[in-house]
Amino acid sequence: MSTYPTSTYPTRRTFLGALGTAAVAGCSSGLRESSGGTGRSLKIGYVSPRTGPLAVFGESDDYVLGRVRAALAKGLSIGGRGYPVEIVVKDTQSSAARAAEVAGELIQRDRVDIVLATSTPDTTNPVSDQCEAARVPCVATVCPWEIWAAGRPAPTYSYLHFIGTEQEVGVFAGLWSKADTNKVVGGLWPNDTDGELYRRFVTAEPGWRVSDPGAYEDGTQDYTSILAAFARDDVEILQAAPIPPDWVTFWRQAAQHGFRPKIVSVAKAMLFPTVAKTLGELAEGLVAPVWWSAAFPYRSSLDGTTAKAFADGYGRPWTPPMGFNHALFEIAVAAFRAAADPKDHAAVAAAIGTLKGEAISGRYDFTAGPSKNVSMAPDLLGQWRRNPAGEYDLVIVDNTLDPAIPLQGEFTPLR
């Protein structure tokens, strides 16, 4: 037996405890250092869902941030004064509550000069609200402007640059009228904000008869009742706004049941090339909105990179949020340059409202939006087609809203 009392031996537990304390201490001292040097550097906070169910939106973040950091490595020279640029990145873990929390951290602890928020209302809205409350400029994207603007007091510090659902429905309807159909539109709309908006705007669109089996829950595993309703109403046009997994389940089941409308337009789920790859030949001919693609004829205002080079450099199939996430930084830089003093929050926020320009995602214009502090992006339509390499590409078939972007093909109905 040892003569020492056992308690003086470091047990594993006390050891780990000590280790944890040390780690926390280490982290917090790191934070103090980083927030100390805010004097002349410009700090940009970036909030996106990198993990959790929405992670597909934030998947390209490392690449996008790498490109932006490289472009801004030398800092910005504004009014004859040099400012190093620092980007602080926060993950929302796909939760709205967490998004608000990290936005608060960016504002209080990191003392950022502008907050950028991207991907779905769960990120853009809580972050914008935090910035309004703290009077810090904020630019958000990848959330239909109707959802961003609704139910919030008129914004002064927060801005949004993105498409709108009503506009998108209008573009879809334009495409539908190109084909010879019975004008019966089946709505596959889930019980969420996006689904509700599509239901409202499609139903309001004159000249179409809507077959609406009701708002199903996300995560439904079986769609036979919906398919039966569509078959009963002889649906020839399908308009859907599901989350990706539900769309795959639905569309496979539709194939099993022999349901094949003439036009299938799918918002949300068919934005991502990975979903098209998952569906394989079932993806052929599906119509999806295009708000950004590698084929856009625009360049980065930071370093002149073309959309094509930007997408190719990723090394994986490009995703639409990439372009808009990159554009957020371009807008932030433009706002810093336009403001009299880039460290003055009110001046920067006011400056965003005067911005008109071009980013890798296309034109933005905050002076003439459909709602205060909104810059509306044009919405195009694409059709998924198999390329000779056996992969699926989103081929632009409708450019009504931005003729500067070239058409890549002619729309063809499924049957």
């Binding site: 036979t224 919906i226 539900d246 389940t249 099993q256």
Partner: protein, 279 residues
């Protein structure tokens, strides 16, 4: 109406297939495995890797995936669950919850958050007609697999020497040990079977829909409800529970799609209130 019931039964088969491993682990070891859904997702990823690696259809990948899943299950039992089960009622729940988080994050790191799916070829997209009803081959196969798996598990437990040892251990591990049953290997085997069925179910789900590192949670909820409605730890009860879930979902959807999934949860809640967990 009849169509809805038939489709509901088929959907219920899928629920039961996911749930049977959960039911088995609970029935034998009193292990509430929160990571069950994530293990199913792992099975789907394994099938995807095997299918991509060897160019084999997912069904053939099973030859590789099932033994591997069995091994993983046995290993988890020996290294993790066993210790957790000794730590009281709450410990296994917490440990498997932790395991679930670990699995999700490992999958995100290793396979990215992209939704993936298994390509079942023409079979997975084909349907057939019976008496005016269109049924999917894939879902029918899923139901048949559930019945076969549950049936063979039942036979295994009821008719074989191994089953007797399992039941004896489930009733009273100490007494079983005194009578010469080696408890550890028995539990390891049961955990192995449980995880293997999870992997099998994961593969079917991958064929029907997509999976991503986070889809285990939703899978678990339905499996859990099937187990509870069917009576904890009872295998045929699990099949019945799954079918009840599926049929409820379909019948309510006939009336209004909005309440289909809600109805399932309400039913689950109702069962818990009216007939709390049977010992």
């Amino acid at each position: 109406m009849i169509a809805a019931i038939v489709q509901g039964v088929l959907v219920g088969g899928t629920y039961a297939l996911v749930a049977c491993g959960l039911s088995l682990a609970f029935g034998v070891m009193r292990l509430v495995n929160i990571a069950h859904g994530d293990l199913a997702v792992c099975g789907a990823y394994l099938a995807l890797m095997a299918a991509a690696g060897f160019g084999a259809p997912p069904v053939l990948a099973l030859v590789l995936v099932l033994p591997l899943a069995f091994g993983v299950g046995a290993l988890l039992q020996l290294t993790l669950f066993e210790r957790a089960l000794r730590g009281g009622e709450l410990a296994p729940v917490l440990v498997t919850f932790g395991l679930s988080v670990v699995i999700q994050n490992l999958l995100v790191t290793g396979a990215s958050a992209n939704p993936r799916s298994l390509d079942g070829g023409a079979f997975a997209l084909a349907g057939f007609e019976v008496g005016g009803l269109t049924l999917s081959w894939l879902r029918t196969a899923g139901f048949a697999t559930a019945v076969v798996v549950l049936g063979s598990l039942h036979l295994l437990l009821a008719r074989t020497g191994f089953g007797r040892r399992v039941r004896a251990t489930a009733d009273d591990p100490e007494a079983a040990r005194l009578s010469g049953v080696r408890v550890r290997p028995v539990f390891a085997c049961v955990a192995g079977i449980s995880v293997a069925t999870a992997a099998l179910a994961g593969m079917f789900l991958g064929l029907m829909s997509t999976f991503d590192p986070y889809s285990g949670g939703l899978i678990l909820i339905f499996a859990f409800e099937a187990v509870v409605i069917g009576g904890l730890g009872s295998l045929w009860g699990t099949l019945a529970g799954g079918i009840v879930l599926g049929v409820t979902q379909q019948l309510v959807a006939l009336w209004d799609v909005r309440f289909a999934v809600l109805a399932v949860h309400v039913l689950f809640f109702g069962v818990l209130v009216v007939r709390p967990v049977r010992a």
